[in-house]
């Protein structure tokens, strides 16, 4: 009896110690991608998909280039093909061309792709060509775990058009080994009279970045720099600018629009709040690595993830890349909400409101939909549901280059991250940052109106001119505001207002 008890105890202990191995099942044997969790039961699990038969059918997908989103699309396509017998053709397209590659056939009434990947802020332009996500998927267990913010991002007027596969927001990433270093804290205090801490405001961010710029502060024999940011025109830089502007311009006392005044549809992007943010950003060109003014998202991920800078802020990818086991700064980074500001512009009183203000930016992210004209809608939704099933999702979010980021409540648990090797305090700071952003009542959502591309491109061009020294921040934003007015006149103020009111309702916590 004693022997049996000992054996049972040993077996249980072994199962506990080797818990990841205990998850191993027949599916993780065939598909090593999910080796950590094994298959997780659900409507779109490996087990469920294996019961579908799409033999003789072809699914056509247009997605982003490898690796960001392109790699997981191709990987899950291969898995889906093996499980269901379907043939899946995946086309990879550069980010800048995703919109047009879908839009041209959409407008011509064709459907060369059953599934189109793009960005969530395409929703207003694309929704008339996309099939709403069927009720059975919306009501699935895996969808119930998606956070309300990301349900909102994927939906328009209560109808879900984009299948949630990714969750995005901008937040601050910093070098924990520097900011928490007592020696550097002392040195910084002596030099500046200020505390070295996780920057609470953009001004603090700038001061610290300038101090830790252009010298070897991590002792690797190479110079390090203050900050890596997406500053390259036409490479998502407008999103970085909105992140820097939110704290100065999103005033909780003045609901009714961040980009426009919803009542008058006057562009707000040249108000003193945005100008202050752009002035800060121009100053930032002095503490980015050489050539940092031309950094696109890939450069920013590589620069911060490679240990070249103290700070960075943008999507999750740079943080997750930095936490990869092979990263030189693995477990040396921290996450925090975007810095705030000690004043925020009040457009009603036409003056600054003094006091701390912070506004998370729920920037657009990867989104995917099924073409209304597709002849394989059921298979297409099954593929997307499989792509985002629990097992695939948990595996995907741990791989920085995949570009798949948290958007489910379960993702905001530290254990999800500690089990892939993150230190506990880092995992906790990460999930705490994301969770606090979800809870915030002063959020900014991306612009999702007809002509979004024109608005963002006009702003990006103006901001890029300021960064390059071609125009002053005020002149640049005045130029952008003028162009926004021209675009409004072309598109029609009422059209834009109607669409913008949906985003404003989200920002004003009415949805």
């Amino acid at each position: 009896m004693k022997t049996i008890k000992t054996c049972v105890t040993a077996l249980i202990s072994a199962l506990l110690v080797f818990s990841p191995v205990a998850y191993a099942d027949k599916w993780s044997d065939q598909f090593p991608h999910i080796k950590t969790t094994g298959d997780i039961p659900g409507e779109c699990s490996y087990e469920s998909m294996s019961k579908k038969d799409y033999s003789g059918k072809t699914l056509k997908i247009n997605t982003h280039a490898v690796p960001v989103m392109g790699e997981p699309t191709a990987l899950h396509a291969e898995q889906f093909a093996k499980l269901t017998g379907a043939k899946v053709d995946v086309t990879h397209t550069p980010a800048g061309d995703l919109y047009a590659k879908a839009m041209v056939p959409f407008q011509a009434g064709q459907a060369p792709y059953d599934i189109v990947f793009g960005f969530s802020n395409f929703i207003n332009d694309w929704r008339r060509y996309l099939e709403p996500v069927p009720k059975k998927y919306v009501e699935m267990k895996q969808m119930q775990d998606v956070t309300p913010s990301h349900i909102g991002v994927a939906s328009w007027d209560g109808v879900m058009y984009q299948f949630p596969v990714d969750g995005d927001r901008h937040y601050l990433k910093y070098r924990k080994d520097v900011i928490d270093n007592p020696e550097y804290q002392k040195q910084y205090k002596l030099a500046t009279g200020k505390e070295l801490r996780v920057p609470q405001t953009w001004k603090e961010y700038g001061e610290m970045a300038a101090y830790f710029n252009n010298w070897d502060w991590d002792g690797d024999g190479e110079k390090e720099y203050g900050s890596a940011e997406v500053m390259k025109k036409d490479d998502l830089m407008y999103a970085a600018f909105y992140s820097r502007s939110a704290a100065y311009s999103k005033n909780p006392k003045t609901p009714g629009g961040f980009f426009f005044d919803l009542e008058t549809m006057t562009p707000l992007i040249n108000n003193p709040g945005f100008v202050e943010a752009l002035t800060d950003w121009v100053a930032a060109t002095k503490y980015v690595p050489p050539g940092g003014i031309n950094f696109g998202l890939g450069d920013e991920i590589g620069s911060f993830g490679g240990g070249q800078t103290l700070f960075s802020f943008s999507w999750d990818d740079a943080f997750v890349a930095a936490m990869q086991p092979d990263s030189p700064i693995n477990n040396k980074v921290g996450a925090a909400q975007l810095p705030g500001a000690m004043k925020v512009w009040n457009r009603k009183s036409n003056s600054w409101d003094e006091g701390f203000n912070q506004a998370p930016f729920f920037v657009w992210g990867w989104a995917v939909g099924v073409a209304k004209k597709s002849k394989e809608k059921e298979m297409a939704f099954d593929y997307l549901c499989f792509f985002a099933n629990e097992a695939n999702h948990q595996a995907d979010i741990g791989i920085g280059r995949f570009g798949v980021n948290p958007f489910r409540n379960d993702d905001f648990k530290a254990e999800v991250w500690t089990q892939i090797g993150w230190d506990k305090d880092i995992a906790e700071s990460y999930v705490d940052t994301l969770a606090k952003m979800e809870e915030s009542k002063n959020r900014v959502f991306p612009l999702r109106v007809p002509g979004t591309f024109e608005f963002n491109a006009a702003l990006a061009t103006a901001a890029a001119k300021a960064l390059a020294g071609q125009l002053s921040p005020q002149d640049a934003l005045d130029e952008a505001a003028k162009q926004w007015n021209d675009i409004l006149n072309r598109v029609g103020k009422d059209n834009v207002r109607k669409a913008y009111s949906v985003g404003v309702a989200m920002e004003d916590n009415k949805l």
Partner: protein, 288 residues
């Protein structure tokens, strides 16, 4: 064979010409009179609204056009000078002549986009090898891609590297086809190499030179891939060219009608300016 039969034989060629040349131009003109964009997906008729916008409210297009003029004229002049020098070098009896001819042609045979990615890596200010090498000899990092002035010259370097071989090829073919008699006469007269070049080689090469310069100007005026990959038109708008701007308006912002307006206007300007340039070059380089 009567007239009708002749017409039947001409018809396929005419049909192809209409299909590949006339129709796209007419379609572009029609598109330029429409407001087709992401929110108005139709060929509605808006008259000359787009043209009014272009001529009264789009300084960025004109800036990009003048920038393009600077870039294309500079690159073509450099390509011509270097290409001519290289062609003269391998035209003579030198050792490893065939080897050099092949070596000089290699840049042209590479894929422009791939090579530009490699150049971008070379010129990367903090991670690229060029600044590293310069650093070894005490030169401060140069902002190859992020200084508005230097970035233009970086684009010129890449373009010259890529397309000088094309100029070299045309000019070498020209040199090889020149008659020998004028050179023999000059040699008998005791002309120095410099005088032979100025009074014999250069004038004889003038028609070929004009052809080569015009061909390269046409190509250079479409510069897009180098700018797209190397700088994305930045920093700011410092390296934005007309074709890149048209691409942004058409395929990034999806203003198809307006992009067609820009394209057609650009086509007209190019036809006029290249005709003038050809006439001027002919006048300058070909002596009666």
């Amino acid at each position: 064979m009567n007239f009708k039969h002749k017409f039947v034989f001409l018809f396929p060629g005419l049909f192809v010409l209409i299909g590949i040349l006339i129709f796209p131009i007419i379609f572009t003109i029609r598109l330029s009179l429409s407001g087709w964009n992401s929110y108005t997906p139709e060929m509605n008729f808006i008259g000359i609204t787009n043209y009014i916008r272009l001529f009264t409210d789009d300084p960025r297009f004109w800036e990009s056009f003048f920038r393009l003029s600077f870039l294309s004229v500079t690159t073509v002049i450099l390509q011509y000078v270097i290409g001519f020098a290289l062609a003269l070098m391998v035209w003579r009896e030198i050792k490893f002549k065939r080897f050099f001819r092949v070596i000089f042609l290699i840049p042209m045979m590479t894929t422009p986009v791939i090579m530009t990615v490699i150049w971008r890596t070379f010129f990367h200010e903090s991670l690229g090898p060029v600044n590293d090498l310069l650093g070894n000899i005490g030169v401060k990092p140069i902002l190859w891609l992020s200084d508005p002035v230097i970035a233009k010259f970086t684009v010129i370097i890449v373009e010259v590297w890529q397309w000088t071989p094309f100029m070299f090829l045309l000019l070498l073919a020209g040199l090889l086809s020149l008659p020998k008699e004028p050179f023999l006469a000059a040699a008998i007269d005791g002309a120095s190499p410099f005088r032979k070049f100025v009074y014999v080689t250069f004038p004889l090469m003038a028609p070929i030179s004009i052809g080569a310069i015009i061909i390269r100007l046409i190509e250079a005026s479409k510069i897009m891939d180098t700018v797209f990959v190397l700088t994305s038109g930045g920093p700011g708008t410092a390296t934005e060219t007309s074709s890149f701007y048209i691409y942004i308006k058409g395929l990034r912002e999806f203003q198809m009608g307006y992009a067609a307006t820009l394209s057609f206007t650009y086509l007209v300007i190019m036809i006029i300016s290249l005709t003038i340039i050809a006439k001027v070059l002919t006048k300058l380089m070909i002596k009666e």
